[in-house]
Symmetry: C2
Subunit: 85 residues, 2 copies
C-alpha cells in the first residue's frame, strides 16, 4: 500500500465509511529534514488557523506522522461541526 493510499485510504473505503464532514490536512516533506517537533509545532499552528474558519470537533481530531523512505507526511483528519461565517 503506497504512502498515499495509507493517507487517503483506498477510494472504495470512502464510499463505505459514513461520509462525515471533515477536512484532511497533509503536510508532506520530501527530504525529511524538518525535525518532528517543528512539524508538530507547525501542525498545531495550522490547525489554529483552520479553527478560525471552521468549528472543529477537537475530540475526534486525528493526527498521524507517516514515514516512507525520505518522505515524512503529517496527516490530520479534522472533523468539522460547521463552517463559520
Amino acid at each position: 500500500m503506497t504512502l498515499l493510499e495509507r493517507i487517503f485510504g483506498k477510494s472504495e473505503d470512502k464510499s463505505k465509511s459514513v461520509a462525515k464532514d471533515r477536512l484532511k490536512l497533509v503536510l508532506m516533506h520530501d527530504r525529511a529534514d524538518i525535525p518532528a517537533p517543528m512539524m508538530e509545532q507547525m501542525r498545531q499552528e495550522i490547525i489554529a488557523v483552520i479553527a478560525k474558519y471552521v468549528e472543529i470537533n477537537e475530540a475526534d481530531l486525528k493526527v498521524d506522522l507517516e514515514r516512507a523512505d525520505t518522505t515524512v507526511a503529517l496527516v490530520a483528519n479534522i472533523p468539522i461541526r460547521r463552517v463559520r461565517g
Copy 2:
C-alpha cells in the same frame, strides 16, 4: 488518473523529477461546502505559518485547486530554501 495521483504525481514521476527540497500542503474537504475564497484565505494564512519555520522560495510557489465529485483539494507545492532555526 485519480485525484491523488494528480495531486502527488505517479511515484515514478518523482524519481525522474529533480528532487528539489519542497513541502507539499494538501487541504482536502469532502463535502466541498467551504467557499473557494475561504479556502484561499486559509491557504494564505497556512503558508504564512509555514514561512515562520522554513524559508520559502515564493517565486516558485505553486497552488492548485482540484475538484473531483464532492471533494475539493487545495494543493500547494512549496519549494524550500532552508529550514529556519
